[in-house]
C-alpha cells in the first residue's frame, strides 16, 4: 500500500546525481541511503534531485540527514535541487540548509557544486 521510491543514479567522474522519483518516507531507506552507499569511491560531489518527489515526510527527511552525515564524514559536498517552495521552507526550518544548499534547478545546482 506504499509506493516505492525509485532512484536513478548518474555518475560521471567525481560527480554523482541521485534522481529520486516518488514520495520519500520511512520506506525509502534503500532509495536514499542504499543508493548513496553504492556510489563509487571516487565520488566527491553529490546532487540530490527532488524534482519528481511530490511528498517528503519527517522520516524521509531524516534519511536525507543521514545521507548528509555520511557525506560530511567522507568530505563529500552535497547540494539539492528541485524542491517545491514548501519543502525548501521545511528543509530550512529544520536547519538542513546549514549542511547542504538548496537550488531551483539542476543548472544552478551544478554551478554551486563547482
Amino acid at each position: 500500500m506504499v509506493t516505492q521510491t525509485k532512484t536513478k543514479v548518474d555518475e560521471n567522474g567525481d560527480l554523482a546525481v541521485l534522481r529520486f522519483e516518488g514520495d520519500i518516507t520511512s520506506h525509502s531507506e534503500e532509495a536514499v541511503l542504499g543508493k548513496y552507499r553504492a556510489l563509487n569511491a571516487a565520488t566527491k560531489k553529490i546532487l540530490l534531485d527532488f524534482s519528481k518527489v511530490p511528498y517528503l515526510n519527517s522520516s524521509g527527511i531524516a534519511l536525507v540527514i543521514q545521507l548528509l552525515m555520511a557525506a560530511n564524514k567522507a568530505s563529500q559536498k552535497v547540494v539539492c535541487f528541485g524542491l517545491s517552495a514548501h519543502f525548501v521552507k521545511v528543509f530550512t526550518m529544520l536547519g538542513l540548509a546549514k549542511y547542504t544548499s538548496l537550488h531551483a534547478d539542476e543548472t544552478a545546482a551544478r554551478e554551486a557544486v563547482g
Binding site: M1, V2, D23, T25, S26, H27, Y55, N57, S58, S59, I61, A62, L63, I65, Q66, L68, M69, N72, S84, A85, H86, K89, V90, M93, L94, G95, L96, K98, Y99
Partner: protein, 147 residues
C-alpha cells in the same frame, strides 16, 4: 456567519500510507474554504505528520485500532483533530538541533511535532479516557509561516 461549525470526518485504518488520504481530504476542505496554496501545503504536512504519529505512536501500528480526523470549518479558521486510541503526548515538541543530529548526538528523527507546531497557528494535545488527540488550528487570514 456560521453558527455551527461544518464538520467533515474521516476514519482511517492504522496503516502507514493512509496519512496521505488525510492529507488530501484536509487539503480539499481547506481549498473549499479559500485557503491559499501555500497554507494548504502547510496544512498538508502538519496533518500528515500528526496522522503518522497517531498510527505509529498512538495506535502503535495495531490494525485493530482506528484514526479519526475531524475537520471543523469555522468562520475564520479550520480546526483539525487527529484522534488515536493511545495514551497521548505528554511532552512539548522537541526543537531539532541539526548540529547535534549531524554529530550523531541526537537521533536524525524526532522532527514531526516540531514541524506541526511550526506550520499551523495553534496546536494542543489532549488525552481522554477513550483515547487522545492532537488539535490543530489554521487561520484563514494568517500569512504563510516562514519562521
Amino acid at each position: 456567519m456560521i453558527v455551527d461549525p461544518i464538520v467533515t470526518e474521516l476514519r482511517l485504518p492504522t496503516r502507514l500510507g493512509f496519512e496521505k488520504v488525510a492529507m488530501y481530504t484536509a487539503a480539499s476542505v481547506a481549498e473549499l474554504m479559500g485557503f491559499s496554496p501555500d497554507r494548504v501545503d502547510d496544512l498538508k504536512t502538519a496533518v500528515a505528520e500528526a496522522c503518522i504519529n497517531a498510527i505509529e505512536h498512538g495506535n502503535k501500528l495495531n490494525e485493530n485500532l482506528g484514526v479519526v480526523v475531524t475537520l471543523s470549518i469555522e468562520d475564520e479558521s479550520l480546526e483539525v483533530k487527529i484522534r488515536d486510541q493511545g495514551a497521548g503526548v505528554h511532552k512539548v515538541a522537541h526543537v531539532p538541533d541539526i548540529d547535534r543530529k549531524m554529530a550523531g548526538e541526537e537521533t536524525p528523527r524526532g522532527m514531526g511535532m516540531f514541524l506541526i507546531q511550526a506550520l499551523v497557528d495553534e496546536v494542543e494535545y489532549v488525552s481522554e479516557q477513550s483515547g487522545s488527540y492532537a488539535r490543530l488550528v489554521i487561520h484563514l487570514n494568517a500569512e504563510a509561516r516562514t519562521d
